[in-house]
């Protein structure tokens, strides 16, 4: 083991623990207050990671306010410090962390909203792809329709929730939470066909259909999954939306 490896371990141990002893051997020439100087590093680490969390979870931040968010972020940072050196990718475990620590809480929808923000960021940074137009369907032989599968844009994500996640998302966007009804459950689909990230609501049948599509199931399976939930499911409408929001990048026959 390198001699300085030990120093680094002491250094990092003290970084996230304000009461921990300072690493041996750190000095500041002619400056007795080493704790204050080490505090600059403690500050750099903690404040910058809190800022990263605020940037990555703007809805959670707005929902709970600065004090609550900061306390939550500090607890999260201590439990799940970043593993990757890219801050835009930090916070994947935040939703699970909130869920674990908020079983009996006033904000039961908070974990799902953190998941919405995770998926939003994933869509934002996902690989670019070119969507195909619905007219591609016309070129498929009618005998093959049941076996049709779809290539999905890498920025497509679906989230099922027991809470009104779409209304809360929309309330945040429009600065008006007045229309949120906590008695309803909503599902959303997120996509970024080009530059802008789109967030849309999905009813239960459409959600089932889209999930099967994403799982690579053929059109017959997708259709049946949707029909099981809602016998009035409108396939034509669903297909036009599928292409309309830029979800499809290719067709296959399986």
């Amino acid at each position: 083991m390198a001699e300085f490896e030990k120093i680094y371990s002491e250094f990092t141990h003290a970084l996230l623990r304000p009461k921990a002893a300072l690493p041996k051997g750190v000095i500041a020439p002619r400056a007795p207050n080493i704790i204050k100087r080490f505090g600059i590093y403690r500050n750099n680490v903690m404040v910058s990671l809190i800022e990263a969390m605020k940037s990555n979870f703007p809805i959670i931040y707005a929902l709970v306010g600065d004090d609550f968010f900061t306390a939550l972020a500090v607890a999260f940072i201590n439990k799940h410090p970043p593993k990757l050196p890219m801050l835009f990718a930090y916070g994947d475990e935040f939703a699970a962390f909130i869920r674990l620590y908020s079983t009996a809480d006033r904000l039961p929808y908070l974990a799902d909203m953190a998941e919405v923000e995770n998926l939003w960021r994933k869509a934002y940074h996902a690989k670019d792809a070119t969507c195909i137009d619905i007219s591609a369907l016309q070129k498929i032989d009618g005998e093959q329709h049941l076996k049709l599968t779809f290539n999905i844009h890498p920025a497509v994500f679906i989230l099922k929730s027991g809470w009104p996640i779409y209304s809360i998302w929309l309330g945040h966007e429009t600065d008006d939470m007045g229309n949120v009804d906590l008695n309803i459950a909503q599902n959303i689909i997120i996509n970024r066909p080009d530059v802008d990230v789109l967030v849309m609501q999905l009813d239960a049948a459409n959600c089932a259909f889209f999930r099967q599509i994403i799982n690579g199931k053929n059109l017959e399976n997708c259709y049946n999954a949707a029909m099981e939930i809602d016998a009035s499911f409108d396939l034509g409408c669903c297909l036009s939306q599928l292409f309309g929001i830029g979800m499809i990048t290719g067709l296959n026959i399986n």
Binding site: F4, N33, R37, Y41, P81, K83, M86, H125, K127, P154
Partner: protein, 293 residues
């Protein structure tokens, strides 16, 4: 995807690219030598960051200034995934310069998002040199290494920072990036003279210069009184004493690519652009002096 040719960074002022200014730059196409990015912010697969960066790269040369390689780590090998991400950005954008820091930021699998100080010993010199070699070999490019700003140092640190960087450049063939504001910040915090540091610095290896702002903070040192600490927060304009060191440096080394870093309390584009023009003015004066002399 657009293919770029490698484009040299000119010996002019450049600006650290901020997302807030994407639109100003693309719409106004300001006359400016180059831009610099932190590659970590563009290590996602796609999306707006790449779309904007591509549009800006079509207009300007680009430099990649890493903050996450942790060259000062005691590990045997650098993070191979991070090297791969770095290399794919080089392929995509063909930057004119590549740089990293004399610091560490990752330890035992945790990224601390700060440029932490290392002791300057024979042991760390060997480690850092191995890492710089590994990085240069992997990327197939020379890397410039930047002097850090520091708030603490180590008891057991026999090399002066300037000597350490000199040795590193000799051992690895790397270039150096001299951050003038970091000299000012570290010199204040560690009680040495900026101009002595500059005199000792191996200026022949300098490939790029950084300029930025810092803030002041008072620390109670008890019986020793109140001490002024400088914090390298890049949240304000470059102050005059730092410009003065920069001028002295230009007299020694001639025009070099010179970056304005402004990362906190980010100003509007016009203010930032104005800072770059100040640097360009000093560079222009240096060129004239050199010609006359």
């Amino acid at each position: 995807m657009v293919r770029f040719e490698k484009q040299r960074i000119p010996p002019l002022a450049g600006v650290g690219l901020k997302a807030q200014h994407y639109r100003n730059i693309i719409d106004e196409k300001p006359s400016l030598g180059w831009f610099e990015i932190h590659p970590e912010n563009y290590m996602g697969a796609g999306g707006p960051p790449h779309q904007y960066l591509t549009a800006i790269r079509e207009l300007y040369p680009l430099s990649l200034h890493g903050v996450g390689m942790s060259l000062g780590s005691p590990v045997k090998r650098l993070d191979q995934d991070h090297l791969a991400r770095f290399k794919s950005l080089i392929k995509r954008y063909e930057p004119g310069l590549i740089s990293e820091h004399l610091a560490w930021s990752t330890h035992e699998g945790v990224f601390y998002n700060d440029l932490l100080p290392l002791p300057y010993t024979d042991e760390t010199l060997t480690h850092v040199a191995n890492h710089v070699n590994e990085m240069q070999d992997y990327l197939g490019r020379q890397v410039l290494i930047e002097n850090p700003s520091a708030y603490l140092s180590y008891e057991d640190s026999p090399y002066a920072e300037t000597e350490f960087l000199d040795q590193l450049a000799q051992k690895t063939g790397c270039g150096l990036l001299l951050d003038v504001n970091n000299i000012f910040v570290s010199a204040n915090n560690q009680n040495y003279d900026c101009y002595e540091y500059l005199k000792a610095f191996p200026v022949q290896y300098i490939g790029e210069i950084h300029l930025g702002g810092h803030s002041e903070e008072l620390v109670d040192d008890g019986d020793a009184g109140i001490a002024k600490m400088l914090i390298d927060d890049h949240s304000s304009a470059v102050i005059e004493p730092v410009w003065n060191i920069y001028k002295r440096l230009l007299e020694k080394v001639g025009p070099k690519p010179s970056l304005i870093e402004w990362d906190g309390d980010i100003p509007d584009w016009a203010t930032l652009y104005n800072e770059a023009q100040v640097a360009d003015q000093f560079i222009a004066e240096t060129s004239i002096d050199k010609k006359v002399g």
